[in-house]
Amino acid sequence: MNATAASEGPTRTSQPRVGLFVTCLVDIIRPSVGFAAVKLLEDAGCKVIVPSQTCCGQPAYNSGDRATAKTLALQAIEAFEDCDYVVAPSGSCGGMLVKHYPDLFAGEPDLAERAERFAEKSHELVSFLVDVLGVQKVAARYDGTVAYHDSCAGLRELGVKTQPRRLLAGVEGLTLVELDQAETCCGFGGLFAAKYGELSNAIVARKADDIRGAKADTVLAGDLGCLLNMVGKLQREGSAVKARHVAEILAGMADGPAIGESQKGPRQ
């Protein structure tokens, strides 16, 4: 079913040019999240463009490799130069663009100013829809009980908390339940999940317990990394709980297989 976003925000004389920062994980593992983001942005009246891009540089930044992080940050800043906004379907990559790019160039006035300007126009997808575009409701349908996990960077660096819940509340057929520990980290942490696999597993095992306890059939989040971690654990434990990026639900594009599900067609 088609979803249309009813924007009640300020009427715009010209269409904002939004550059989609698709993020490596979505680009490679789940392009459908990128298309859901495009649909949400276009329905809200944006002109979406996708400049040639790679990674925001966070893996290097968080590994202590500041030089590579700066190279990749500059590359992204240049690639999105002619966009009014830069929007990422991720609080983690969004946090990198908004909070950490300016930090990276602190002490280099010209670059710092460019990074500042870039940061000001950069947003996480769902908070951009609600806080900047004024979207109040999306006309999507999802028949199921969902729990929303607050991914750490989106929550603590960008203040993404109420926006996804507000839009989910308007999705027909959807029941939203709260996790007991929605704000507790799932244990992903980027390279942490591979470097400290056993520890990461212990943390996500507790998250999986919480998700099962909430009796949701689908867990949602705004970050593919956390979703891969949570559903990877649930599937390994034989749980039938599905995982989807929140954008898929809001765009009404949740007909295909959920994350990590058989691609030969929807199960059951």
Binding site: V22, C24, V26, D27, I28, I29, R30, P31, S32, F35, V50, S52, Q53, T54, G57, A60, Y61, N62, S63, G64, D65, R66, T68, T71, Q75, D103, C152, A153, R156, E157, E183, T184, C185, G189, G190, F192, A193, A194, K195, Y196, G197, E198, L199, S200, N201, A202, I203, V204, L228, V231, G232, K233, Q235, R236, I259, G260, E261, S262, Q263, K264
Partner: protein
């Protein structure tokens, strides 16, 4: 020498902790602190404003630390006490032992002190033939077990009541073997009974300090058991051991910091006892020690001033960061391998014992940011852990596979056309390798992930390649 560190073996330590069923059962308790803190904060609308002023007080003090230390020292002298500066752990231990010997002390009671742990004081006292008895219940228990604290405010949080009962039966052999110790109150009362005799017999009492007040020369301790009071009032001498950053300008400043301390730590509005002590007993005082000494420890802290880790010196040791840390909650404090665990330990340990020894700790974080979110003095803990990773990377201390892997990845990531091509080929190949099952239960080079979790397979062509194909055809 400081206490021996096993921080470099964090991964092995964590493995042991995760596979220790008894420990995993005990760790559940530390999570109670989370709800208690939240409730305490909810009861105090100005809590966030208090955090700002707490931060400002500490920043101001650190900017003028030399002046406030001198002022503090002057006031201690005026009140009849003595101040001793110790550059490192060795010097601090020697000062304390010399003081004890000069007073002919055979037995020492101790209030809870992390500085005592940092300098390994108990072993040194015992080696010098002086009996040292911990009087904080948790510290007493771990002393019996020959362990170090696993939490900075709840040292025995890794133990259950059952563990404590066993320990007491082993240690208190002169008490009736058929006594009941099933209830926590019974354990408490037995510890009281045993410790009472120690309090009365002690020649010297040693405590730490939560704050040192420059304007009055006062040291402040907060406790919930009252053991600190008996430690510092009953013996003939009171020795305070504290690190240099514990000083604050005024009593009013300390009062502000106390308002955030207990709430952040245990969720109490205030600790049960807040005890101020200034100098030795005065002629008209009914009790109190005849001698009062303060040992001020640097041990690497002054080197942190003015550098990128200075913010860490704001820490008031509440433990909120570890209580809220998913890593600490999973493995407990001993896995961190030195004195200070959790996020504050992950930043402080490399500062005090070196990044070569302590560098694992700032790496073992998901950067979830909850520690910074609850820190009463707003220390940017994740950022400082990242700074340590940078120092490590610069010195090529990061593991070789990580450095080469990053280099390989960076080569592609900084060449967008090549990256798009490579990513698209990889995604398509991985979809085929997934054979439509949609996920992998094993992948080469990704064992850290797939040993514990499935990994979703790519849907097929990358987003960028699909978008370009589509734009080429339609737009």
């Amino acid at each position: 020498m400081n206490e021996v560190a096993t921080s470099a073996h964090f991964k092995e330590n964590a493995h042991e902790a995760l596979t220790d069923a008894r420990l995993q059962g005990a760790l559940g308790f530390s999570r109670n602190f989370v709800g208690r803190r939240a409730a305490a904060v909810a009861r105090l609308p100005e809590f966030d404003a208090l955090r700002d002023s707490a931060r400002a007080i500490k920043d101001h003090t650190l900017a003028h630390l030399d002046l406030y230390l001198e002022a503090y020292e002057r006031k201690v002298r005026e009140s009849g006490g003595e101040v001793h500066y110790a550059q490192d752990a060795e010097e601090a231990r020697q000062i304390v032992i010399d003081l004890c010997r000069s007073m002919g002390a055979m037995s020492v009671t101790k209030g809870k002190s992390m500085i005592s742990e940092e300098i390994g004081l108990n072993h040194a006292l015992e080696a010098a033939g002086i009996e040292a008895v911990e009087t904080d219940l948790g510290e007493y228990i771990i002393q019996l077990r020959g362990e170090t604290p696993s939490h900075i405010i709840a040292p025995a949080i890794h133990l259950t009541a059952k563990d404590v009962e066993q320990e007491f039966r082993k240690a208190h052999r002169d008490l009736p073997p058929d006594r009941s110790l099933a209830e926590p109150e019974q354990l408490l009362s037995e510890a009281r009974q045993v410790l009472r005799a120690k309090f009365l017999a002690a020649d010297v009492g040693i405590t730490g300090a939560n704050f040192l007040i420059a304007e009055t020369g006062t040291s402040i301790i907060v406790t919930n058991e009252g053991n600190g009071d008996l430690t510092q009032i009953l013996p003939q001498a009171h020795i305070v051991i504290a690190s240099i950053e514990k000083v604050v300008p005024t009593l009013e400043d300390a009062a502000q910091l106390l308002r955030v301390l207990a709430r952040s730590a245990t969720g109490q509005d205030a600790s049960v006892y807040t005890t101020l002590s200034t100098g030795p007993r005065r002629p008209h005082d009914p009790d109190g020690p005849r001698a009062y000494h303060v040992v001020l420890l640097d041990n690497g802290r002054s080197a942190m001033l003015g550098g990128e880790f200075e913010d860490m010196l704001r820490c008031i040791r509440c433990g909120a960061c570890m209580n809220h840390c998913p890593v600490y909650q999973a493995v407990g404090g001993h896995a961190y391998g030195w004195v200070y665990p959790g996020p504050m330990g992950a930043v402080l340990t490399p500062s005090l014992i070196g990044v070569a020894e302590g560098g694992q700790l700032p790496n073992a974080s998901t950067f979830c940011g909850r520690c910074e979110e609850v820190c009463p003095v707003r220390i940017p803990l994740p950022n400082m852990m990242r700074h340590w990773r940078e120092r490590e990377f610069e010195r090529r201390l990061s593991p070789a596979p990580l450095r080469y892997g990053l280099g390989f990845w960076a080569f592609f990531a900084s060449r967008p056309a090549l990256y798009r091509l490579g990513a698209d080929l990889a995604a398509r190949a991985m979809r085929l390798a997934g054979r439509g099952k949609g996920r992998f239960s094993w992948l080469p080079f990704a064992g850290g992930w797939t040993r514990y979790r499935d990994l979703a397979a790519p849907e097929g062509a990358t987003f960028q390649s699909q978008w370009r194909a589509r734009s080429g055809a339609v737009r």
